[in-house]
């Protein structure tokens, strides 16, 4: 328990009119029958549930993919799900037969390595999941043991029917029926962050009949029976009846406490377990964690298909030719004893020979489909992941948490992200509201700039500085003034650090009681009183510091109360009927005032306002109201519009500055007027029936009119560090950002403004639901709204017009239905920003799936809470925000970062690099294996297609393992087209990934063509050069071993030289690895040749005796290497010169040191390279600047004039 906190004990239900006003009286029990409603729970009698048919699932949960028994078969199945692995398995099995041209080990060992490595990785990840489950399952909970005694047991041992006691700030272990709470009236507060991401607390309320069950002993004799619905994933519904004391009561969702939500502001609650384990609603909502594969990897499957077809074709050609040769030529080859052969070479059975040779050929040409590719990719990805993990620029100094690649499968996918689907709370925002500005009686207070303003000022300053260099220097000092004026607020930012949480207000006129000297003192007092009185929070005294903290439903309210306190109106006590405020700076000295709360009409998302009617100490009845400006402005009295114009202006400014605004108004009531209204109100309140809500609202409406505007507040929803900048950069990189939040629409829109997803001048398309009973009508209406929106965008002539789509969860449910979802998607894709509010976790996942499948682009889901898990798992890449409580999001994610802003570096730097590295590496890999594999095929044509390889077995094994693997890996791990700083400076470069410029079929086939060319050059040059002539001064001619070795030397040199042309970034590592690979070949040849001929066979002394002394060996190697690579060199240099890609230009500028020498050009290129964005800071600042432009120009001109004509 929090130390030193004292809390007033009150019946809080009295405060609420709408949410808790309902009495269940009259509403009869639900008719519980039929399918879907078969569950029976015997409360406090868990033993009844130990045998069938009432035996339910235990509270043990497991999110693992495998268990000890299923691991092997299941993970093997997963592994051989990959096309390539299946092929290798087949090849390995065939290699066990005598038909194989190679030894079986050389086929099986690499396969075992690849599969084993992947399986080990899977196993490790699953083990982590298991440990996390264990952690959850062994949490302790108090349960009713017997005879009124409560004892601890583990969550997993909990049974249906158990009575449990949950204490403050603990999670509910299962879905519970709320019986009673520490509050007399059975209210408790629940935080459902993990379920729906909403941060405001929800009120749950126990039934009247069970209220008395609020002590341990009472449960001695408690029994009851619940009949209710079967487990289902719907979080917001519940149907059931409680039979208690021979009566049946209907149960409502408001009495159900869901697993994974948290008890708040309430000391303890008692509840009965209804659903356990996988039956709970949250678990029913969870989706299996899928195994994800990157697009490149999926495409590789298709490449494998292509290569496999090629393989089949050349194998078929080989075997047909072989069969033909066996049938018609073999009988003439006496030297092969055609009369005495095994089946394979029997001229009488060409069919058998042909078929068995097909197998041989498939294995022989298997080098076209390199198994080592998968080994190398695994190795490369692990190393890339370790670079991500070790990047200090993604390391959070405050929390000490680095970025983490939790799976290495998706590194390159990071470079292809098209759409980011982001959670809001905890991801974009800190969920901390700071009171920043206010407007009272038409005067704006608060000088501190918001994030948006600060950025705008900076941008303008830099733009001006840029202009300055071009224009004459005479106006320098003049411009500096303007600059200072706009930047001044950002300059002093560093001096003042906000010391008070929730309060960043800064204005000497208001603080320290100075407001007494302001002209409108009365209004200011009223303003502060509204802040201090109009709320539902309760104060908590911190005994240690003597200050009050506030437990408020929403963080806004907390910020208001803190602000009121700082202005001298400290709310310190709430009783059942009153609010007490200590007013410090009154003329009469500090006084404590009591405000009797007569009525409280609380905030709902529909009403968008909150009203209290209080009687102050003078007996005056005052109605105080705060709400959305549009709502308040509609309800102003004629004489209450005195400050309307100024306030509206201020509100617009605040909105532009990305702040959340509320307008405050009041109304003085006559006693008679009030009592007349109150009668009506009480009547409505006690009325029974479905129209009660409507009546209540109507009555409330009657009172909330003729208001007098006091002012407005502006609260900054504290964005996380660097979020606007990051969003801006991502927008410049061409990545779209969708915000999916469980929060209210207004909050979401405000955040949209704060992080520059929305701005003034952007056309908002809000799609909402009608209040209508018929589903058809609602759908019809939504359909209309979507069509209208699409039409509007289509007809818009302005190419720079930006649209924003805002949709709420209820509407989304309809929009996501089969017949409408693609229309909705079409509209959403046309909009620059999309904000979905009040969405459930399931909807988040559905939206993600819609985007993923509808657009076919790569999606990235980022979030921090358990409610984001579905989205994170559904998205192509899931990113979890680590370092906040609850690890569910991180556990489900593929990457975790501790701050949203690190996403920029993760995508723009690491994603970009990894994408390029992997795609270049894969292309090169196919190139080299085609170049190598096809020479085997050509050679077949010269051996009567007999399946003889020209190379030594060992060469072929070493080719992929040692001789060419290291440079490829260094390409995959270390290649950088441009440095990380440049990546960040030119976010447009990122677009190369989503456009898939480096792994499209054009490029892949190009590389394959290059491989084909190289293979032809290597083979035929060698064949012709060493056809039959002597190749040495001693007159020896080549034999098969020598020709094979020469050809292999050419291949090694050519492919390793080729990779040097691909690389653009050489550290000593690349140098060492490439040259070492070439040297390794000669060293190998030397040492292998030194072995006794028993082992080295034909290679014995081949380098020292046969090859090295022959000049023709070296000249041929040089010739072939150059001839192989010259066309590629010509291609890339022509491309670079005449069709340069973005990175080419940047590389060149960097290379020529343009960034240092020619600042202007560098900057110009940088601006040019910005993707035209409609969202983000830059776009917003541009808009801001253009709106200020006129004003500024005028000012500049006048300043210039002043300077030209000095007095």
């Amino acid at each position: 328990m929090a130390k030193g906190k004292i809390r007033a004990k009150i019946r809080r239900s009295q405060l609420y009119t709408f949410a808790c006003g309902k009495r269940c009286a009259g509403a009869g029990p639900h008719p519980i029958e039929g399918p879907g409603c078969s569950r029976v729970v015997h409360c406090n009698q868990p033993h009844m549930h130990r045998k069938k048919p009432l035996k339910y699932r235990s509270n043990y949960i497991s999110t693992t993919k495998y268990n000890f028994l299923t691991f092997l078969p299941k993970s093997l199945y997963e592994q051989f799900h990959r096309v390539a692995n299946l092929y290798f398995l087949a090849a390995a099995i065939l290699s066990l037969t005598p038909l194989s041209p190679f030894s079986a080990v050389s086929m099986i060992a690499p396969l075992a390595f690849v599969v084993g490595l992947s399986m080990a990785k899977e196993g490790l990840e699953d083990w982590k999941r298991f440990m996390q489950d264990m952690n959850v399952n062994s949490r302790k909970i108090q349960f009713h043991k017997e005879e009124g005694v409560f004892d601890n047991k583990q969550w997993q041992q909990l049974e249906v029917g158990d009575v449990v006691k949950v204490e403050k700030d603990n999670f509910f272990p299962a879905d519970l029926l709320l019986l009673s709470t520490s509050y007399e009236d059975g209210i408790c507060y629940v935080e459902t962050m993990n379920l729906d991401g909403e941060t405001n607390l929800k009120v749950k309320r126990a039934m009247e009949v069970t209220l008395s069950l609020n002590e341990d002993e009472i449960f001695k004799n408690f029994t009851g029976m619940i009949k209710c619905e079967d487990p289902n994933p719907s979080l917001y519904t519940f149907v059931g009846n409680l039979e208690y004391c021979r009566q049946t009561y209907a149960l409502e969702p408001g009495q159900i406490l869901l697993r994974d939500s948290k008890l708040r502001n309430t000391s303890y609650v008692y509840g009965v377990v209804i659903f356990t384990g996988f039956d709970t609603k949250v678990m029913q909502n969870s989706t299996k964690s899928p195994s994800k594969r990157s697009r490149i990897e999926k495409k590789m499957d298709y490449i494998i298909y292509v290569l496999f077809s090629l393989l089949l074709v050349i194998s078929l050609i080989s075997s047909l030719a072989f069969a033909w040769k066996i049938r018609f030529q073999m009988p003439k080859w006496w030297y092969m004893r055609p009369d005495n052969t095994e089946d394979f070479y029997n001229p009488q059975q060409p069919l058998v020979s042909g078929l068995s040779h097909l197998v041989t050929a498939l294995i022989l040409y298997g080098y076209l489909i390199p198994i080592s590719l998968y080994v190398s990719i695994e190795v490369v990805k692990v190393m890339q992941a370790s670079f991500i993990n070790q990047d200090l620029l993604m390391y959070d100094d405050d929390t000490g948490i680095p970025a983490q690649a939790r799976t290495s499968n998706l590194n390159e996918e990071l470079g292809q992200v098209d759409t980011i689907l982001s959670d809001k709370t905890g991801t974009l925002t800190c969920n901390q509201m700071d009171f920043l500005k206010c407007s009272i009686a038409g005067t704006a207070y608060g000088v501190r700039a918001s994030d948006v303003e600060r950025a705008a000022a900076q941008q303008m300053a830099s733009d001006l500085a840029q202009d300055e260099t071009k224009s004459s220097t005479s106006s320098k000092s003049g411009k500096l003034d303007i600059e200072l004026e706009t930047v001044v607020t950002s300059k002093d930012e560093n001096v003042h650090k906000p010391t008070i949480k929730f309060f960043s207000f800064e204005d000497g006129r208001m603080t320290e009681g100075n407001w007494r000297n302001e002209p409108n003192t009365d209004m200011i007092m009223l303003f502060c009183r509204i802040l201090a009185v109009c709320h539902t929070a309760i104060p908590e005294l911190n005994e240690e510091t003597g200050t009050y903290t506030y437990e408020a439903e929403s963080p806004d309210e907390g910020a208001f109360l803190v602000a009121a306190r700082e202005f001298g109106f400290e709310f310190y006590k709430r009783t059942q009927s009153s609010v007490f405020v200590r007013e410090r700076y009154l003329a009469s000295g500090p006084t404590e005032r009591e405000y009797k709360i007569l009525n409280l009409l609380e905030f709902t998302s529909k009403r968008k306002r909150m009203t209290v009617i209080v009687r102050d100490e003078d007996g005056q009845i005052i109605l105080m109201c705060k709400g959305a400006d549009s709502i308040i402005f509609d309800r102003l009295a004629k004489k209450g519009k005195l400050y309307l114009e100024d306030t509206t202006k201020h509100l617009n400014n605040y909105g532009e500055a990305g702040l959340r605004t509320l307008a405050l108004a009041y109304r003085k009531l006559e006693e008679s007027e009030y009592s007349a209204w109150n009668n009506e109100f009480q009547k409505a309140k006690t009325s029974i029936g479905s129209d009660r809500d409507i009546m209540l609202e109507k009555v409330a409406e009657m009172m909330e009119k003729d208001l007098i505007l006091v002012g407005a507040t502006a609260v900054e929803d504290k964005l996380q560090k660097g979020v606007p900048h990051c969003i801006d950069k991502l927008a410049q990189a061409g990545v779209k950002l969708w915000v999916l939040t469980g929060d209210k629409m207004e909050t979401a829109i405000n955040i949209g403004f704060a992080c520059s997803l929305l701005r003034e001048g952007m056309k908002q398309i809000c799609i909402t639901t009608l209040e209508s009973d018929s589903k058809e009508a609602i759908k019809e209406n939504i359909f209309m709204q979507i069509t209208n929106g699409s039409q509007m965008i289509k007809l818009d002539k302005d190419p720079y017009a930006a649209y924003a789509l805002i949709i709420d969860g209820k509407t989304l449910a309809y929009a996501l239905e089969e017949d409408m979802k693609f229309m909705f998607l079409g509209l959403a894709v046309d909009c620059a920003s999309v904000i979905c509010c009040r969405v459930s976790p399931k909807q988040k996942a559905l939206v993600t799936r819609l985007v993923k499948e509808g657009t076919g682009r790569v999606t990235l889901g980022i979030g921090d809470g358990a409610n984001d898990v579905g989205m994170i798992q559904e998205a192509d890449i899931g990113v979890g925000i680590s370092g906040v409580e609850g690890m569910q999001a991180v556990m489900a994610s593929d990457f975790s970062v501790s701050q949203f802003r690190f996403l920029e570096r993760l995508l723009v730097v690491h994603g970009h690099w990894c994408y390029k590295r992997i795609s270049q590496m894969v292309c090169y890999f196919f190139y080299k294996n085609i170049a190598f594999g096809l020479t085997l095929f050509y050679f077949e044509a010269f051996t009567g297609f007999s399946g003889q390889s020209v190379y030594d077995d060992l060469y072929m094994i070493l080719f992929n393992v040692v001789l060419t693997s290291m440079p490829v890996i260094s390409l995959g791990v270390f290649e950088q087209d441009v440095s990380s700083d440049v990546c960040l400076e030119f976010p447009t470069l990122y677009q190369q990934g989503p456009r898939n410029l480096f792994f499209d079929w054009y490029r892949i086939l190009g590389w394959m063509g290059n491989g084909l060319y190289s293979s032809i050059v290597i083979f035929f040059l060698n064949i012709v050069i060493f056809y039959d002539q002597a190749y040495r001064v001693e007159g020896q001619t080549t034999d098969m071993a020598i020709l094979g070795t020469i050809m292999f030397t050419c291949i090694i040199c050519a492919v390793n030289f080729q990779i040097t042309l691909i690389m653009t970034h050489y550290t000593w590592i690349q140098h060492v690895l490439i040259w070492l690979s070439v040297i390794a070949w000669f060293l190998f040849l030397f040492f292998y040749g030194m072995l006794s001929p028993t082992y080295s066979k034909n290679v014995f002394l081949i380098l020292t005796e046969a090859l090295a002394p022959a000049p023709i060996y070296w000249t041929t190697t040089l010739l072939v290497t150059i001839a192989c690579t010259l066309p590629y060199l010509a291609h890339i240099s022509l491309q670079r010169c005449f069709q340069p890609m973005d990175h080419h230009i940047i590389q060149e500028m960097k290379y020529l040191k343009k960034d240092e020498k020619d600042q202007v050009m560098w900057k110009r290129e940088k601006t040019k390279a910005r993707e035209k964005t409609k969202v983000g800071f830059t776009a917003r600042v541009d808009a801001y600047i253009s709106s200020l432009g006129g004003k500024l120009n005028r000012k500049t001109r006048s300043l210039e004039k002043n300077q030209e004509n000095p007095s």
Partner: protein
């Protein structure tokens, strides 16, 4: 992203190699293929390759080579239609003579090659059919299953076993210039490593060519395998279906206008599969035998590289970026 000083201190030595490595900031050379570079490279390649090619071509032209096909001419006219029966008929004398005219001065040593065409020494069945261990260790070595179907005959192992040895080439040539016999050196025609390390000094042919089917040449059972150089040369299987193998060396110069008469025994059967047989006399230099192609290829690559360089230069001059 700005960093405070404390960060820097905490992170320790920012310049350490390990730090630079993990942060992917190792100093790197980033060559950029700017047009001047590319043009330079192509010119460089051209200027190296063309001279090398010309030099190689000259070397190739300095080699003198005389080649004569003899498989048809050596068949008596009455057997021309059925050459196989000629070669298989032991009663027909196989001797034959060829006349070589020397057009260019040939400096000793002059290498004598026999050339077979359409002969698949590189066939998988053929390649495998040998036992290196037996060649080295003799008939005490028993793991010779690869040698099937010539592993044994009459229940006794064959040394050397296998198809390759069994089909040993056995045409023989004697060379006469004018009246005098030209001395042909037939030693040291095989690789030294083969003689010393792969063919046993104490391994003698055994039970060789004793079966019902006689393949190629016979071996003198009293000479150890390491001295049977014809066999050693033959057992270095050729890479391609047409190949030359060294027969011997003439260690006298041949002058222009010399006539060399070759007396040969045309024993080897290539008629079944229509393979050509040729006899080649050739001098050699550092390049080996006559090899115009290498030089031509060098000249071709070099000159096309020069062309590319020039084209590139023109394009670059025309559209300066």
């Amino acid at each position: 992203m700005s960093e405070t000083n404390s960060d820097r201190q905490r992170r320790g030595d920012r310049e350490s190699a390990f730090y630079l490595f993990t942060q992917q900031r190792l100093p790197a050379c980033k060559p950029v293929l700017t047009p001047p570079w590319v043009i330079t490279i192509y010119f460089l390649v051209g200027f190296i390759f063309v001279p090398v090619g010309l030099f190689t071509l000259r070397a190739s032209h300095s080699v003198v080579e005389i080649e004569e096909r003899y498989d048809i001419e050596c068949v008596p006219s009455q057997f021309r239609n059925d050459k196989v029966s000629y070669i298989q008929d032991d009663s027909v004398p196989k001797n034959c003579s060829l006349l070589f005219k020397v057009d260019k001065y040939m400096k000793a040593p002059i290498y004598i090659y026999y050339q077979l065409e359409n002969y698949y020494q590189n066939h998988r069945r053929y390649v495998r059919s040998r036992s290196d261990q037996q060649l080295l260790h003799g008939r005490n070595f028993h793991g010779t299953s690869y040698c099937q179907p010539l592993e044994s005959s009459n229940n006794r192992p064959i040394v050397p076993c296998g198809l390759i040895a069994w089909s040993l080439f056995n045409d023989t040539f004697t060379f006469i210039r004018g009246k005098a016999l030209l001395k042909v050196n037939r030693t040291n025609i095989a690789w030294k490593s083969d003689r010393d390390h792969k063919f046993g000094k104490n391994v003698y042919p055994f039970n060789f060519q004793n079966g019902t089917w006689i393949g190629g040449g016979k071996l003198n059972p009293r000479i150890p395998l390491s001295n049977q150089e014809d066999l050693i040369v033959w057992m270095r299987i050729s890479a391609l279906p047409s190949f030359r193998k060294l027969y011997g060396r003439i260690e006298e110069d041949l002058d222009v206008g010399d006539y060399v008469v070759v007396q040969l025994m045309n024993d080897y059967n290539t008629y079944s599969f229509g393979g050509k047989k040729k006899l080649v006399l050739s001098t050699s230099n550092w390049l080996g035998g006559k090899n115009d192609f290498l030089g031509l290829a060098y000249v071709f690559v070099g000159s096309s590289s020069l062309t590319v360089a020039i084209v590139f230069m023109l394009l670059h001059l025309r559209s300066q970026r």
